[in-house]
Symmetry: C2
Subunit: 226 residues, 2 copies
């Protein structure tokens, strides 16, 4: 079945969530990587707990809650000013350096590009603008419309609904292995962008391909047999 479209995860996949680390390090010397890691882990944990319990709060709220937790866990005092700076930085994460060139290759080949993210519409809009990725994506889909975070099926269903094709005609791209497992279970064709050289999660499901950058994604999508 030919590939009709690509759906990209945003956070960690297109935008570097750890690009906040240097500001964190400025504000809390010696704590940058550790705080950034707890912040990210808690953010993801809260999306899952809220979805499991049907207690949705949007990704901006969850991101702030996770930051508050991370600072408390490390015994760091988060002043309102520092909180605003960190959240402001989160709204304008860096894109990975190869993105624009590879997205252009895909777009020029006539493939419909989209984003399917836990982020709010506002956050996604800001991040796209701040990272210079405007104009590449025909659809920017936020789970805020269904009030359930990935990996809930209702979130993944937004892709086929918006793109007007079957999940198996869509290549789903994420650097988050859990997201790839969820998307594969749902029925997407999948490529795991293993940016950090991690082992595959042991969930009894495998992505269709594994790569390490958006160039691998573009190479795979543009292969004659894909």
């Amino acid at each position: 079945m030919p590939l009709k479209a690509i759906a990209f995860d945003a956070y960690g996949t297109l935008f570097d969530v750890y690009s906040v680390s240097s500001l964190v390090e400025d504000l809390f010397p010696g704590k940058g990587p550790q705080l950034a890691t707890i912040w990210r882990d808690k953010q993801i944990e809260y999306t899952r707990l809220r979805t499991l319990c049907d207690k949705y709060a949007d990704f901006w709220q969850v991101t702030g809650d996770a930051l508050d937790y991370a600072c408390a866990a490390l015994g760091l005092e988060l002043t309102p000013g520092s909180r605003d700076r960190l959240m402001g930085q989160y709204a304008e994460l860096s894109a990975f350096p190869e993105n624009a060139e590879q997205l252009l290759r895909l777009k020029n080949a006539g493939i419909t590009l989209s984003i399917l993210s836990n982020g709010t519409p506002w956050m996604l809009d800001q991040a796209i603008k701040a990272s210079g990725l405007e104009g590449y994506f025909e659809h920017v889909l936020s789970v805020d419309a269904v009030k359930r975070f990935k990996t809930a099926p209702e979130a993944y269903q937004m892709g086929p609904d918006a793109l007007g094709c079957d999940a198996k005609e869509i290549l789903f791209v994420s650097s988050n292995c859990w997201d790839i497992c969820g998307a594969t279970w749902f029925g997407y064709r999948t490529i795991w962008l293993n940016r950090y050289g991690l082992p595959l999660d042991r969930l009894g499901v495998n992505p269709h391909r594994i790569g390490s950058s958006l160039q691998d994604v573009a190479d795979f999508a543009l292969e004659p047999n894909t």
Copy 2:
């Protein structure tokens, strides 16, 4: 409304999941605490992902999968013999030292005691026997009956169903803050056993009480106004 029963979480609450650390340290010197932490974190992560995606596998399977991942993440070779020893240890975790005395206080006061756990019936049976806690619990409830892990409402619903009373007449006890948040959202009266001095999770929900050992639980349950 008077308290009619208590539902205890098992792993981390009655049984010390980190009691595997010394065997881990014997098998992988210098890696004990780190491996035990990744093992536990992945185990919990996999329960959530499988529940969100309706891909249930039981807690024994998930525990083994998480161990495999943790070893891979640390670049450690897990031989079949070491795997069997670690899983065997997991089946016979230590109880926390104060448990028996405090459970006896509660039982003698006529309060119905139960367990509501992600573990399989077999795992719970083994852990209760190995830690000398036989005879205290009238109900040992495993989410295996509903094929959804906590914090899914279907899992928490097992308590009221088995105990024949309303969730708010049951005191739910867990050392896992996420479990306490889920149980409070569900409608239980809750006490968070904060065994490790962690900050409260930022989920917009608070336990009714916070303690640090089963003695605090018994004290609270036996207060005249509880």
